[in-house]
């Protein structure tokens, strides 16, 4: 028994190496996904972010077929990079709703004028309350929500050209 105990430190070390090797070779995602995927969108109601465009509420996300909600901001640099991809999605018939985080109307209008405007509605989330409610940890993020208001898919970060098919597929799967 005593001899066996002497090998315990080595055994502990081997277990440590195992965990650490897994951590090194299958590095974990640094992003924080929403825990609400597969659950109903929590209730929210956002005022319009710019004049002439309706705001966004959880009620409006139900009953109209699956929707894509894009959380973005004019001060967010990767959001500029994903604008062409959003245009592409809109061209393919995907309805896109926007949530503008902490944006002043004039900045938002300038952003839309420069980078394109694929949004049917844009809600103003001036204190990030709705972003927190949805389990979103930054901008830009994109959610696919089905006709029953259930969150089906989350894309974290800017949408690159190669991500577009996946989002279209998720939207179609949500029908």
């Amino acid at each position: 028994m005593k001899r066996l105990i002497l090998w315990v430190p080595l055994a502990v070390f081997v277990v440590f190496v195992g965990f650490v090797a897994i951590g090194l070779y299958a590095p974990a995602e640094r992003t924080v996904p929403s825990a609400l995927i597969g659950q109903t969108v929590p209730d929210f109601d956002l005022a319009p972010a710019i004049a002439g465009r309706p705001g966004l509420s959880s009620v409006s996300l139900r009953g109209n077929g699956p929707r894509v909600v894009n959380i973005f901001a004019s001060w967010c640099i990767p959001c500029r990079a994903e604008a062409p991809q959003l245009e592409e999605l809109a061209r393919r018939g995907v309805p896109i709703d926007g949530i503008a985080v902490r944006d002043r109307p004039q900045d938002l209008a300038a952003f839309l004028a420069t980078y394109g405007d694929p949004f049917r509605t844009i809600g103003a989330d001036n204190d990030r309350r709705v972003q927190l409610e949805l389990g979103s940890a930054g901008v830009p993020e994109t959610f696919v929500i089905d006709a029953n208001g259930v969150i089906r898919h989350q894309h974290i970060g800017a949408i690159n050209p190669q991500d577009v098919p996946a989002i279209v597929a998720a939207w179609e799967a949500a029908r």
Partner: protein, 653 residues
């Protein structure tokens, strides 16, 4: 030219390390006695060459030699010279070179100064040290070369992270590394003694001063890091159980246990296996910490290069060294005869309990730090383990340990009666009980841990000093004074921690000039805001006047600073230290109504945290000096004899 000289010095040092290893192995074989005398000079030369390489790197930084890639990436010609100097280790490659330099210099120091150790054990130790060095030289030369050139030479460097442009940076990493890497000596001693089967009192006495030296630096390094974070980050926090902070604490816990265990081995020839394992664990924790910080595997504000390939290299070294040492332990320790058994109520008993509790705390910190990694590896789920876990899990164990620390030195070696201990502890226990009562009555809302900590502290402080009671102070050995001061330091530090936790007052205000705010016993008037500039930064400086009751007003000037290269905002808090605590003021942003975000804290007794830590290091220093002089004055046998035949009245070492 100079950079190439530095690289050449490094290669030479690595080559000497290889030679040291081969010479050591050859000298230990039968027939190799002639080579014994060759090993020491090689080790010393290796230390000198490694130090030379590091000095050359410092020189390159001081001259802002932008043709060297590392300097271009981490320095800037407009930086103050102190931060050019300190910037040499404010990056992965430079700090790794410092790491290897300390390793080599420590080995050279042992070769130069160690006289008491049995010769074959010393050679085995130096060979082990050389073996460790080889792996890290390889890492440095092949995966983290600090001397690579850059073409074309850039016009200007990228500058140093402003959070690191601070006097604390000049002090904290080197001090920490002298301790962190210096404890490699203990590891090598343990491996050497396992190889030559020399684990005994003589070995323990020889190893003890080296452990003490490394431990003193480690203590100071951690204290410096804590204070630096406190005043630099602008939020008044002094420990966050961040993975990198834990990476420095774990070797300290192991080294503290080792320090105590080696005394039992030296005077009682007991705890052989424990002592050897602790020596291996201490440096293993250092190496694991180096790995965690540099592999990108854990998220931390302190993390260095996020580089899985370098991480894999270091992991391979860990497997080789830690795996090898622990395998050697398993194979050899079974044949090491254990010493005699102890009474539970005795100095030895309390030291065993001390070993145990420190190891438990070490285990808790280890498990907590690596748990998120383990869970993610097994289930893919992400979770976070932070202060709530560490404080709740390690807190009670630490409190028990500190209480034991008060009682232990009052126990006699070999055997003691519980009733006698109770008598000796009566004053400390009364003090603690009185404090507990006073706190319950006067400060009813404070949490259980601060309550217990603050109650224990006066009693333990009294118990720490008790060994001096009724002794001729001038004839008390210096290492006894060391023990007293170090234990007192722990009690003082704990009092500071508990007080900060229980009694800190915070006020957050959006203030306009002319407005007066209150925090704790202070009234603070916000006078004005002025722009100021420094060598590589501009700032908005707030001028505030603080006053305590009817006392003399004094000024505070916190800044919101913007550095130029790289362009980074920092908050420079204004801290005013008074006799019973600190007033800590930081300034944030201006809002649209022209009001400034001001954060004020009143932290009673918070300086005790670091003052206590300095006392701990001072105690270690006194012990070191005391041990070194004692060894010089009397033969080693005399000490063992004195320990064995201590008359009933003699209480302490």
């Amino acid at each position: 030219m100079i950079a190439e000289a530095g690289l050449a010095a490094l290669w030479l040092a690595a080559a000497l390390s290889l030679l040291q290893l081969f010479l050591g192995i050859a000298a230990l074989r039968p027939g190799g006695e002639g080579l014994l005398r060759a090993v020491r000079p090689v080790a010393v030369a290796q230390g000198v060459l490694a130090a030379l390489a590091f000095l050359i790197l410092i020189w390159l930084f001081l001259r802002t030699d932008l043709s060297v890639e590392l300097v271009a990436a981490n320095s800037h010609s407009a930086k103050p010279w102190l931060y050019k100097f300190a910037g040499s280790w404010g990056n992965h490659e430079g700090s790794m070179l410092l790491w290897v330099t300390v390793l080599a210099v420590a080995g050279g120091a042992v070769a130069l100064f160690e006289r008491k150790l049995r010769q074959d054990t010393l050679i085995a130790t130096l060979a082990a040290q050389a073996l460790i060095g080889l792996g890290f030289y390889a890492f440095l030369l092949f995966a983290s070369n600090p001397f690579t050139r850059l073409f074309p030479v850039p016009v200007e460097g990228n500058g140093l992270n402003p959070l690191l442009q601070d006097p604390g940076l000049a002090f904290h990493p080197p001090t920490l590394y002298f301790g962190y890497v210096g404890i490699s000596i203990a590891f090598s001693f343990a491996v050497g003694a396992l190889v030559t089967r020399d684990v005994g009192p003589a070995f323990a006495r020889a190893m003890r001063p080296w452990i003490l030296a490394a431990w003193i630096f480690l203590t100071l390094g951690i204290v410096a890091g804590s204070y630096w974070a406190y005043y630099e980050l602008g939020w008044g926090g002094w420990w966050f159980w961040d993975p990198v902070e834990n990476a420095s604490l774990m070797p300290w816990l192991a080294a503290t246990a080792l320090l105590h265990s080696v005394t039992v081995l030296a005077t009682r020839d007991g705890l052989r296996a424990w002592t050897v394992m602790l020596a291996v664990v201490a440096f293993s924790m250092s190496m694991i910490g180096t790995f965690l910080v540099r592999s990108g595997i854990l998220t931390s504000v302190h993390a260095f290069a996020v580089d899985p390939q370098r991480g894999a290299f270091i992991l391979a070294l860990l497997i080789l060294y830690i795996g090898g040492a622990m395998a050697l332990f398993g194979l050899r320790v079974g044949t090491v005869k254990e010493g005699s058994r102890f009474d539970l109520v005795s100095r030895e008993g309390s030291l065993v309990a001390n070993n145990l509790l420190l190891s438990v705390i070490l285990g808790i910190v280890f498990v907590g730090t690596l748990y998120p990694l383990g869970v993610e590896a097994v289930t893919g789920e992400k979770l976070s383990v932070g202060p709530p876990y560490f404080n709740t899990a390690a807190g009670p164990v630490a409190l028990i340990l500190v209480a034991l620390m008060g009682a232990g030195p009052l126990l006699r070696w070999r055997s003691d009666r519980p009733s006698a201990l109770v008598t000796r502890m009566s004053v400390p226990v009364l003090l603690s009980a009185a404090s507990l009562l006073a706190l319950i009555v006067l400060a009813p809302g404070i949490g259980i841990f601060p309550l217990l900590g603050l109650s224990l502290a006066p009693g333990v402080a009294a118990a720490s000093v008790a060994p001096l009671w009724k002794r001729n102070l001038r004839r008390t050995p210096l290492f006894t004074w060391g023990m007293v001061v170090a234990h007192l330091g722990i009690a003082v530090s704990m009092a500071g921690m508990a007080s900060e936790s229980a009694f800190t007052k915070e006020t957050l205000v959006a203030a306009s000039p002319g407005q007066t705010m209150h925090v704790g016993p202070f009234n603070v008037r916000f006078d004005s805001v002025e722009p100021v500039a420094g060598p590589n930064w501009t700032a908005i400086e707030a001028r505030l006047t603080a006053r305590r009751g009817e006392g003399t007003p004094f000024e505070l000037r916190p800044q919101a600073r913007m550095f130029s290269s790289p362009s980074t905002p920092t908050s420079e808090a204004a801290i005013s230290t008074v006799f019973d605590g600190q007033l800590y003021v930081a300034i944030g942003e201006e809002d649209q109504q022209g009001r400034w975000q001001i954060r004020l804290w009143w932290k009673p007794a918070v300086t005790l945290i670091w003052f206590g830590g300095i006392l701990v290091a001072l105690g270690g220093f006194l012990s070191l000096i005391g041990r070194v002089f004692r060894e010089r004055r009397s033969a080693a046998a005399k000490e063992v004899a004195a320990g064995a035949d201590m008359p009933a009245k003699e209480v302490l070492v």
